[in-house]
C-alpha cells in the first residue's frame, strides 16, 4: 500500500475550488516534486497534506504505517524570523516539541536527538550561532534539522530553495537528495524551480488547479506539460524577466493568503505583465 494516497481530492476556499480532481500516490522512498505557477494550488495542497485543511471532496489516506504525525515540515521563512533572537540549537530543539507529550521541558533524549540531526546535516558548528546571523542556506539547514526532529519518515518541503544563492541552492538539493537516497526519507517538495525539480526528483506532479501531469520525472521530461514550459522559455527568453516577476509574486503571497479573490487578482496581474509568448504558453497548458 502507498504511504499517502489522494483520491479525487478537491480543495476549496469558501466554496471556490482551488484544486480539483487531484489523484496521486506517494510510496516509501519516493522524491515527489510538486511544480506549478503561483496560485496553482500548491500551498493549499501542503495545508491539506499537513491536515490543516480538510478536502471539500475526495479523500487523503495514509498507509504503510504512516500517520499524519510522521510528516516533517519545512515551511517558508516568515519576515518575523529574520531578526529572531534565538540560537540555532534552540530552533532545532523546538522540532522535538511533539515528542514531549505533557512534559513541560526538553530532556536528555530530545537534546540528543537535536544534536544528531544537526550532525546529520553537518550543521553542528552552527548550534550556538544566533539564528538571525545565519545566511539563507544555513537557516534552511537549521529548519531542515528541526523538521527531522519532528518526524523522519516523510519530509514536506515548501519552496526550500527560494531566495537562496546558486551555491546554496545546489547544497540544499544535495542535502535533500542525500536524505532521500541514503536515509530513505520520502520527500515531497513544492518548488518553482522546474528544472531543478526534474533533475532531482523521482516523481513530478504538475499542478495548475487540476493536475496537468503526474508520473516519474523521466516521463515528465517527454510530456507536453514540461515541453510547454521549456518551449516558451527558449523562445521568449523569459528567464530573467520572469524570475524577477516570480520573486515579486512570491513576496506577495508570502503571508500565506491564498484566498480565491487574491488568487484571481494575482492571476490577472501576472497575465498582464507577461509577454505575449507566455500567454500563448498558458493557453497551451
Amino acid at each position: 500500500m502507498a504511504y499517502l494516497t489522494c483520491e479525487k481530492v478537491e480543495l476549496a476556499y469558501e466554496g471556490v475550488p482551488v484544486v480539483s480532481d487531484l489523484s496521486f500516490a506517494i510510496n516509501k522512498g519516493d522524491y515527489l516534486c510538486v511544480v506549478g505557477e503561483n496560485g496553482s494550488g500548491k500551498s493549499t495542497l501542503i495545508k491539506a497534506l499537513l491536515g490543516l485543511k480538510k478536502p471539500a471532496a475526495g479523500k487523503i489516506t495514509f498507509g504503510d504505517g504512516l500517520t499524519q504525525k510522521d510528516i516533517g515540515y519545512l515551511p517558508q521563512q516568515t519576515p518575523a524570523q529574520a531578526d529572531f533572537p534565538a540560537s540555532a540549537f534552540e530552533v532545532v530543539l523546538s522540532g522535538c516539541l511533539n515528542r514531549l507529550g505533557i512534559k513541560p521541558f526538553y530532556g536528555k533524549a530530545e537534546k540528543e536527538r537535536a544534536w544528531a540531526n544537526l550532525k546529520r546535516l553537518s550543521a553542528e558548528h552552527l548550534a550556538n550561532s544566533c539564528y538571525r546571523d545565519l545566511s539563507g542556506g544555513q537557516k534552511q539547514r537549521i529548519l531542515l534539522a528541526r523538521a527531522l526532529c519532528a518526524a523522519e519518515k516523510v519530509l514536506l518541503l515548501d519552496e526550500p530553495v527560494t531566495g537562496l544563492d546558486p551555491t546554496a541552492v545546489e547544497e540544499m538539493y544535495q542535502l535533500i537528495k542525500k536524505l532521500n537516497r541514503e536515509d530513505g526519507i520520502t520527500v515531497i517538495m513544492v518548488s518553482h524551480d522546474i528544472h531543478g525539480a526534474v533533475r532531482q526528483a523521482s516523481h513530478i506532479l504538475h499542478l495548475h488547479n487540476r493536475p496537468l501531469f503526474f508520473g516519474t520525472a523521466a516521463e515528465y521530461r517527454k510530456s507536453g506539460a514540461f515541453n510547454g514550459v521549456k518551449a516558451t522559455e527558449e523562445t521568449a527568453g523569459r528567464s530573467a524577466e520572469e524570475s524577477a516577476l516570480q520573486k515579486n509574486t512570491v513576496g506577495m503571497i508570502a503571508d500565506g493568503s491564498e484566498s480565491a479573490a487574491g488568487r484571481k487578482m494575482q492571476a490577472a496581474e501576472m497575465t498582464e505583465k507577461k509577454t505575449q509568448n507566455s500567454v500563448v504558453r498558458e493557453e497551451q497548458l
Binding site: P75, A80, P85, A86, V91
Partner: protein, 272 residues
C-alpha cells in the same frame, strides 16, 4: 542614595506602588518578548486604550474599576488577536480604530457625567497613589499565575512565537497559546495602567524586550534579561519620580528609553 531608598520605603503608598509595579513590570516584560517577536506590540497599545474606555465606563456606572475593565479588555484582546490573524483585514489599522475609538468614548462619557477631573488625568498618565492593599495582593496573585504559566509553557511559547505554521503542523495547539498570551497580557495591562497610565503602560511590554534583543543571542537569555531590565528600570524610574517629583509612569518610561539607547549602542558596536 541609601537614605533616599530608606525614606522611599518608609511610606506605605510607595511600598505598595513599588511592589505591585515591580511585579507588573516583570510580567509585562516576559509577555512582551513574545508579543514583540510576533509583531503584536501594537495590541498592547490598543488594549491600554480600551482599558481607559473601560475604566471610564466603570466610573460612570459607579462600579468597581477592575470588575468592569478586566472582562472588557480580555474580550478586546481576543478580538484584536483574531483580526491580526486574519490577513484580509489590516490589523494595524483596525487596532488604531479601536484604540482611538475607545479613548474618545471614554473621554466623552466622563465629560458628560463628572467632567474631566483628576481621575481622568490619573487614568491617562498614572498615579503612584492608585494602588490599594487589595490591588497589591491582586498583582502578587497575577504575577504568580503569569510566572507559573510562562515557565510551564515556555517550550510551547517558544515554538509558537518562532514559527506558528510549523507548530500548528506538528500538532501544537497554537490557538490555545495565543489565547493564553492575549488573556495574560490583557490582565497585566489593566492592573498596570492605573500606575503607569493608559498612554504609557504599553512601554512596559515593548521596551524591555527590544532592549534585551539588542545584545542577547539566545531566546532564554532575551527572556531573562528582559525581566531583569524591566524590574531594574521600574525601580530606577520610581526613585527618580520620588526624588524629583515627576510622574511615575513617565519617569519609568524615560529610564527604559535611556537603557534601550545604551543597549542599542552596545549592540551596534558589537556588530562592527
Amino acid at each position: 542614595m541609601i537614605e533616599l531608598i530608606q525614606e522611599m520605603f518608609s511610606y506605605r503608598f510607595m511600598l505598595r506602588a513599588i511592589t505591585a509595579g515591580g511585579l507588573i513590570s516583570l510580567c509585562a516584560a516576559l509577555l512582551g518578548v513574545s508579543l514583540v517577536l510576533k509583531r503584536y506590540s501594537m495590541i498592547g497599545d490598543g488594549l491600554s486604550h480600551v482599558g481607559f474606555g473601560a475604566l471610564a465606563l466603570a466610573t460612570v456606572m459607579n462600579a468597581a474599576p477592575l470588575a468592569v475593565a478586566i472582562p472588557v479588555v480580555v474580550a478586546a484582546a481576543f478580538f484584536l488577536l483574531r483580526i491580526s490573524g486574519n490577513s484580509k483585514i489590516k490589523g494595524d489599522a483596525a487596532i488604531g480604530l479601536i484604540s482611538a475609538g475607545s479613548l474618545a468614548i471614554g473621554v466623552m462619557m466622563i465629560s458628560m457625567t463628572s467632567g474631566v477631573n483628576t481621575d481622568v488625568y490619573n487614568y491617562m498618565f498614572g498615579s503612584i497613589l492608585a494602588m490599594s492593599d487589595g490591588d497589591v495582593w491582586l498583582c502578587v496573585g497575577l504575577a504568580a499565575v503569569v510566572l507559573f504559566l510562562f515557565v510551564w509553557c515556555y517550550t510551547r511559547m517558544f515554538a509558537v512565537t518562532f514559527d506558528e505554521t510549523f507548530a500548528r503542523a506538528t500538532g501544537t495547539r497554537v490557538g490555545l497559546y495565543n489565547g493564553l498570551l492575549a488573556a495574560l497580557t490583557a490582565v497585566t495591562i489593566v492592573l498596570g495602567m492605573r500606575l503607569m497610565g493608559s498612554l504609557l503602560i504599553s512601554s512596559l511590554i515593548i521596551f524591555p524586550a527590544l532592549t534585551a534583543m539588542r545584545v542577547c543571542k539566545r531566546f532564554i537569555s532575551v527572556i531573562l534579561s528582559a525581566g531583569v531590565i524591566s524590574v531594574v528600570c521600574f525601580f530606577a524610574g520610581m526613585m527618580m519620580s520620588y526624588a524629583w517629583g515627576t510622574p511615575a509612569g513617565a519617569s519609568v518610561v524615560v529610564v527604559n528609553l535611556a537603557v534601550f539607547l545604551v543597549f542599542y549602542v552596545i549592540g551596534a558596536l558589537r556588530e562592527r
